[in-house]
């Protein structure tokens, strides 16, 4: 017994697993995607999935805008409206902007720090599958009502889901359960990826890539990952309490039994405000890469931009009460948080000034990525400034829960995050597809989106100042809001047209796009030193970094007068990707694995079980256990056969 090795056992299963693994190792076909642990593929899957959710959330937005186009709209009823409204907010925050940022973390971080993958490739795959499961689970709630009679099952409590509206008494049905469990699942994905990127960035940097030589996007990813690690547990606790209230009749938020509904708001916003910066810091990172490249100048005041990002990370924990000025926390609390809130505008303003100084004196190329990046600076500034106006506590009493707030955060999250993410797509997608997106079409998309965006959201400042409350499903025609709402609706459809143009551009460019080459934009950072698309091992040789903007310094040197001139005699491509490519032989990459997917599948099943039948909880838990067990015990790399 003791001398017998376990290998000959379970021949059939081992064969099957071996076959599946070899299929996964082929780098093509569906299995190679399902079992992939390659950060680039996971990044692409994150991006595509998030974009599909973006279309879903956009549809919801269009329904909202159609409903509000004219007074007394009756496209949907109040119940449907509340559910669609809730799903629009939840989707855009948790299923679009966060995972789109995660897509860029995945795609770019290893390339920018000169690594072959992230620190925990299988955990990375696990993050993606958990996210996908959570997203599908959340959206599945739509179909739990009597759909054919127009009764949707989605949550109806708003994306903030305040108690006591979220309680079983006031929100019967399973919508809120789906919402809370879905967010709980998504939180697991966020936590896993937060840890993964902290470790990756701290430990896998190429030799010479000191913290202060890291590209800004890497810095912002690091700050965001820390925010994820600390913020997600807060919402997890809040969600557990909500679930206990709903599933097991606990009384955390039930005022009739001594619970406190305001406790929910504190926890939600203690998570929620760092969350806001989780949504915007990656965008700031993307823009901080694009502006220097297209201005041909280094980022102005790199340390200031880094430190202001870190400062935002810390300060984001001290401003949550500005979501709760009107809940009666008292004058001292309101005064303190009023001051902290106006102060958090400062590091953001510093960044805007630094971005402008980066462009000043540059040689600015207005390609599509740059247009979107500049659009970000221009629009985000408006959102930031309107934010300052309602950080002023007494003034906010008037703007609280009006469309003025809706205008503000859409300027920050759409004019900010979404514009920056599109900038990132135009900038970096060619690295992974090998083909440039069409620039002219990109310019058309940009202008259409900019105009549509302002047409949608600027009038909301007006309707807000005229007192239009948020989240109302209809309004009467005697309030003076008609014009502004109609403009908003026209704008929303203009945005939709811009998104359609983007989709056409991607499809067209994937087939016919101009070849990107390894460095289409005269880039400054390491990702542009390798071919497009990169080989799956990324770097043939791990680069050694000697300066910030390492690739720029390889391409350009300074003449006697201190003016940059190109390095002569083709020294720029001295990394030997084209010549002397060994095809990656001898580089051991982590083998594909199915276990992250199996483990991830457990969560939606557990969640479904908690709602409908506890027996399913056991099934899901078993699956989770099997996934983690197999994951823990599988060898890190397949034998050489895998590299046939």
């Amino acid at each position: 017994m003791a001398t017998e090795w376990p290998q000959p056992r379970k021949q059939g299963l081992a064969d099957a697993l071996g076959w599946a693994r070899r299929m996964a190792d082929q780098h093509y076909g569906i299995w190679s995607w399902i079992a992939t642990v390659d950060h680039k593929r996971i990044g692409i899957m994150y991006g595509v999935t998030a974009f599909l959710f973006f279309l879903a959330g956009g549809m919801e937005a269009l329904i909202i805008r159609l409903q509000l186009a004219v007074p007394d709209g009756n496209i949907v009823n109040a119940d449907q409206y509340n559910r669609i409204l809730t799903m629009h907010g939840t989707t855009m925050v948790f299923l679009v902007i966060m995972p789109l940022s995660a897509a860029f973390f995945n795609l770019m971080i290893p390339l920018m720090i000169g690594a072959r993958d992230v620190a925990f490739p299988r955990l990375n795959a696990f993050s993606y599958w958990v996210f996908l499961g959570g997203g599908i689970f959340m959206n599945a709630s739509f179909f739990t009502g009597d759909v054919f009679s127009g009764e949707l099952g989605a949550p109806d409590c708003g994306w903030f889901c305040y108690s006591t509206l979220s309680s079983k008494a006031f929100s019967p049905g399973h919508g809120v359960d789906f919402w809370a469990l879905g967010l709980q699942i998504l939180g697991i994905a966020s936590l896993a990826s937060g840890f993964n990127f902290v470790v990756t960035i701290l430990n896998l940097r190429a030799p010479g890539m000191t913290l202060f030589r890291m590209p800004l996007f890497v810095w912002m990813t690091l700050v965001t990952s820390f925010l994820l690690i600390f913020a997600m547990p807060v919402i997890a606790v809040a969600l557990f309490e909500l679930l206990f209230d709903r599933l097991f009749d606990a009384n955390f938020f039930n005022p009739d039994k001594g619970g406190n509904p305001l406790l929910w708001q504190h926890m939600f916003w203690l998570f929620g405000h760092p969350e806001v910066y989780i949504l915007i810091l990656p965008a700031m990172g993307i823009v901080s890469e694009i502006l220097p490249t297209f201005s041909r100048k280094p980022l102005f005041g790199y340390p200031f931009v880094v430190f202001s990002g870190i400062a935002i990370g810390f300060m984001s924990w001290g401003v949550w009460v500005h979501h709760m000025y009107t809940t009666g926390l008292g004058t001292a609390a309101n005064a303190a948080f009023g001051i902290s809130t106006i102060l958090i505008g400062v590091p953001t303003g510093v960044k805007v000034f630094n971005w402008m100084a980066t462009m000043w004196g540059g040689s600015i190329s207005l390609k599509a990525p740059m247009m979107f990046a500049v659009g970000f600076v221009a629009m985000f500034t408006i959102g930031g400034l309107s934010g300052v106006t309602h950080s002023v506590v007494p003034s906010d009493y008037q703007q609280q829960d009006t469309y003025y707030i809706v205008a503000h955060f859409h300027y920050v999250l759409f004019g900010g995050s979404i514009f920056a993410l599109f900038a990132g797509i135009y900038y970096w997608l060619p690295k992974f597809t090998g083909r440039l997106l069409n620039d002219t079409v990109g310019q058309i998309q940009f202008w259409l989106m900019l105009i549509g965006f302002n047409l949608t959201f600027f009038p909301m400042h007006m309707s807000g100042m005229l007192g239009m409350p948020r989240r109302i499903s209809t309004y009467s025609g005697d309030q003076g809001w008609d014009l502004w709402n109609l403009l908003s609706t026209i704008g929303a459809f203009t945005i939709a047209a811009a998104i359609l143009i983007f989709i056409i551009n991607v499809i067209y460019s994937l087939r016919r796009g101009q070849a990107a080459g390894h460095d289409p934009w005269d880039g400054r950072t390491l990702e542009w030193t390798i071919p497009s698309p990169p080989p799956h091992y990324n770097f043939e040789r791990i680069p050694t970094v000697h300066a910030r903007d390492p690739f720029w310094h390889e391409k350009y040197t300074e003449d006697a007068a201190g003016r940059p001139i190109p390095v002569i005699a083709g020294a720029a491509n001295g990394h030997g990707e084209e010549n002397g490519d060994h095809g990656g032989h001898g580089i051991h990459m982590p083998s594909p694995s199915y276990f992250p997917l199996i483990a991830a599948l457990g969560f939606p099943i557990i969640a479904t079980g908690l709602i409908y039948d506890y027996a399913l909880v056991a099934v899901g838990a078993a699956l989770l256990f099997v996934g983690i067990y197999g994951w823990a015990l599988e060898p890190v790399t397949e034998e050489e056969a895998g590299h046939a």
Binding site: G328, G362, P394, S395, Y397, L483
Partner: protein, 277 residues
């Protein structure tokens, strides 16, 4: 000669777009001046003490914000035009930063924002958040899905039961401080009547106190600001401010109504608190 070297005679195609952008910006700003502003819930047309202080503070923050916005937007457009890449462009000087300048643009905004916004804000927070005066006229506001209930402790019948109205306008004396006690019976609501005062949340199990004061007799519209279920959009309220005499007359009439509660008179929504159902 040198001038034409600096600026090629033909405009780069981008100029048309920037003109568009400028138009857009002007359009946005101008849009603030068009449209009807004499609307029922205009937050910037105060008719009461609280709303006026809030409006003044908003203006204090809004004008500098608007100025910074115009500065940044114009600067961006000017920079893009001025530093646009031309065919014969050299690679620009690689400026890495300017520490004194950056310290300046960190410190100056802090000072500006604290001095011009923070400092004026603090006393107003404490003034608007103070307890209502002792002689203020008390009304208890209760949010109920999806109507507002008002209890007038000073309008009582012979047995000491106070007037309670459901889904009726809130009647208050003009020119006198009102002490509102705001609470919810079920889910969160928010009591907002913009021309009188900014909103205050009605939260179950938590009684909030705030004061308001309306300048002149008149009627002011408001509605619930916090998502409270399917009736959220319909949860409207009217505040009727009356002269002292009118209010007195109304109070007496209502007190009579309290006495006759339950006998099915014409004011069906009026009932005495403590009368049970």
């Amino acid at each position: 000669m040198p001038v034409s070297k600096l600026r090629p005679p033909h405009l780069p195609p981008g100029h048309a777009f920037f003109a568009l952008f400028a138009l857009l910006l002007i359009g946005l700003l101008a849009s603030g001046c068009i449209g009807d502003t004499d609307t029922p819930q205009n937050t910037l047309a105060p008719e009461g003490e609280v709303a006026r202080q809030q409006r003044d503070l908003f203006m204090l923050a809004m004008w500098p914000a608007l100025a910074v916005m115009i500065f940044v937007e114009v600067a961006i457009v000017v920079m893009l035009l001025r530093f646009r890449r031309r065919k014969d462009d050299q690679i620009p000087k690689q400026t890495h930063g300017n520490t004194p300048l950056e310290i300046a643009w960190t410190i100056v905004p802090i000072v500006i924002i604290i001095v011009f916004v923070g400092v004026p804000m603090i006393p107003v927070i404490f003034e608007l958040g103070r307890d209502p005066a002792d002689d203020a006229y008390p009304v208890k506001v209760t949010g109920i899905q999806w109507v507002w209930q008002f209890e007038y402790p000073e309008i009582v019948n012979d047995e000491g039961a106070a007037l309670v109205t459901l889904g009726e306008p809130l009647h208050i004396p003009a020119g006198r401080e009102i002490a509102l006690t705001i609470v919810s019976a079920d889910v969160n609501h928010s009591f907002g009547v913009p021309r009188v005062a900014g909103t205050r949340d009605a939260i179950p199990g938590q009684e909030e106190r705030m004061w308001i004061k309306v300048d002149e007799p008149g009627s002011f519209a408001g509605q619930c600001r916090e998502l409270c279920g399917t009736g959220h959009a319909d949860m409207k309220v009217t505040v009727i401010a009356q002269s002292d005499e009118d209010f007195q007359a109304w109070s007496e009439e209502m007190a009579a109504g309290v006495r006759s509660a339950g006998t099915g008179d014409d004011s069906g929504a009026v009932s005495a608190s403590g009368s049970g159902e």
